[in-house]
Symmetry: C2
Subunit: 404 residues, 2 copies
């Protein structure tokens, strides 16, 4: 069996941790598996290097940033290979360039175009553990590129795809994906399995176990991802394509997102094209809008409400106030004392009544719903922020998410 394993920066933060990771890898190899390991830079290396860059240049070029940052992973792979050698385990390290991870030329946010497997397969066939520097590749001019945030995960998924690995293990500092945040819901349960789609929805709701790019990449090539803890032997959560089983839960998890703010434009003339005008102007400022609700009153004037990330509030208000004056709308209200409660699950596709049950649960808990939005596998309700945790606990209970 061929396994691709990825270890993040916290998993290799010290040489002691590197040695314990090496032992973990050796144990898997000793079971007869072929192992390809992708490693991130040690601990805070990337931030330290960026600080050096900022000392010499206020806006460093992408090419030189990639040249600089890629050294972090190169240090990790060399040290991990040495640690494996010390245990008597044959191992060989490679940079992205040496493996032949070819990307486009978007230096600090490059896309993988292709991966050559020749050298990796050759070394695997000699019985070696192959260690690949994450996060980095090389463009067609042989210049070093980096893959952006979460780039090492992308390297791992890419290698698992081209090598047709049985599994891509993401060894990280969390031990899996939970039905709810265990800090809010004490009975929250670790999920054995979740679909790519659900993982994507959960990410946007703040469950940032794995970046959407990597999940989408894995989905495209149908690579199962096993998210698990670097420091435990227990199974984590398997992210796979949707599997139809009788036992399938209707929903997989419930979340509270507390970093949004609501803006309401009151008394907008209800003419065609007004909403388009407003959201076009906001989009041009690169502000992402999440939920949108529009009500038209009997007076022919509309109220348009929407949510954004709270840090964008001031910029958004400037834009919206300008629009309000031009449209002669009555007033603009901002409110950051809100939270978004969401349930996510592919089971919604085949089960009706999920929304009704969620609304009923909130009503019974005396939590007022201020806005609603839905997607195929998600329902979100906006509530007062101080009621958020209570709401999450109530929903977790009523959907029986904590049961074994």
């Amino acid at each position: 069996m061929l396994v691709v394993q990825k270890y993040g920066g916290t998993s290799v933060a010290t040489t002691e941790k590197i040695i314990s990771i090496a032992k973990r890898i050796l144990a898997i190899r000793n079971k007869g598996h072929k192992v390809v390991v992708v490693v991130s830079a040690i601990g805070h290396t990337t931030d330290d290097l960026l600080a050096l860059a900022n000392n010499v240049n206020s806006q460093p070029s992408g090419r030189e940033i990639s040249m600089l940052l890629s050294t972090g992973e190169q240090v990790s792979v060399a040290l991990l290979a040495m640690a494996l050698h010390e245990l008597g385990c044959p191992a060989i390290s490679f940079t992205g360039m040496q493996v032949g991870i070819v990307t486009n030329a978007a230096y600090t946010n490059a896309k993988i175009l292709r991966i050559n497997t020749g050298r990796i397969r050759k070394e695997l066939s000699k019985g070696k553990v192959v260690i690949v520097a994450g996060f980095q590749g090389v463009n067609l001019r042989n210049d070093i590129t980096t893959l952006g945030r979460g780039g090492s995960n992308l390297t791992a998924v890419g290698l698992a795809a081209v090598l047709k690995a049985q599994a891509c293990e993401m060894n990280t500092d969390v031990d899996g994906v939970y039905t709810a945040d265990p800090r809010i819901v004490p009975g929250a349960k670790k999920l054995d399995r979740i679909s790519y789609e659900e993982m994507l929805e959960l990410y946007s709701l703040g469950v940032q176990v794995l970046q959407p790019r990597s999940v989408q990449f894995a989905q495209k090539y149908n690579v199962p991802i096993h998210v698990r803890s670097s420091f435990s032997q227990k199974d984590g959560t398997l992210i796979t394509k949707e599997v139809k089983t009788m036992e399938k839960e209707v929903i997989s998890g419930v979340t509270a997102t507390k970093n949004e703010a609501k803006i309401c434009i009151r008394g907008v003339p209800d003419r065609p094209g007004i909403a388009a005008r407003i959201f076009n102007d906001i989009a041009r400022k690169n502000i992402n809008v999440d939920m949108i609700v529009q009500n038209v009153g009997e007076d022919g004037l509309a109220d348009i409400s929407f949510t954004i990330i709270a840090v964008d509030l001031i910029r958004t208000m400037e834009t919206v106030e300008k629009i309000r004056r031009e449209l002669k709308a009555e007033k603009v209200e901002a409110d950051s004392d809100i939270a978004k409660i969401s349930v996510v699950g592919v089971g919604m596709r085949s089960h009706s009544g999920v929304a009704a049950k969620m609304f009923r649960t909130l009503a019974q808990s005396r939590v007022n719903i201020e806005m609603i939005s839905t997607s195929e596998i998600k329902i979100s309700c906006l509530v007062r922020k101080h009621l958020a945790d209570k709401a999450v606990r109530a929903i977790h209970r009523s959907f029986k998410l904590g049961k074994k």
Copy 2:
């Protein structure tokens, strides 16, 4: 004019120093010169990386050590390119692999086989300063190699040779080569020019401005090397092939080497092959012998004296004591209270009487000579250690080395 400049680790020890080096490079480029810069790793980076390696492996493999250490120079080149960009100077950085510095497979002590100049020439023709990571190359399998101690100097000389540069500037923390150590001889003078041969002799005598490998490489390709200070605009010392001029000084410098010890084997039977036997055994222990003197007395027994580096004294004594017993020689004496005073100069070839003048000077200073050895351009005398500085000052004076 095409100039190759090399900056060592102390020259780029902080981001402030990197910025000042960038200004220095820009000034040269603004004079209309094409500039190729070779940079070492920042300050103590290499030692720090080696310490990490030793934490995970007691005897790391050469391949992984090269993988690890080569990141140090990669960080430097990226930062220097950024610093030049900040000054508005077009610049581009390269690893040894990217430039195509192809070496043999002796990972941590690799020899340069060839250097591709295509990419460098292309970027120079666009008006860019080209920055190359020193100390590193790549073998024929595309694995990273490193060139050993002083490897960045070797990279610079190699690039100067293949690019047919007008000069190879070694910017370092000393401002040139002196007629004597200025800490011992206050009137010591910086030499404007010195030959490759003299530089090689001076290195073995402790003037470690530039490693023999780089000097020999430069000599082979006739690359003039300009050793100068990174922190001053003043000219340093030019190392070139021997130039015949009327004004040529007879000797270039005088040195005291204080790290040797003398061993004397007394009462050795004077038979053919005895000396060969002794020095063969010592050589097999990888102990370098410097001066050798043999006297045969009237009793037909010989005294054999030689010098070694003092740190090898105990090992050498063990070997020699064994030989003494086998040969039934009388006794072995060790003495580390010695110093070697040497004068070096290509002028000796055409001027007679240098040795006589040196011996006379030492006699007048009441410094007893215990051993003598000579080469074509060097004369060395062994003296008591506490008389060494006095001897150097006397010789510096009598050969008028301090005069302008």
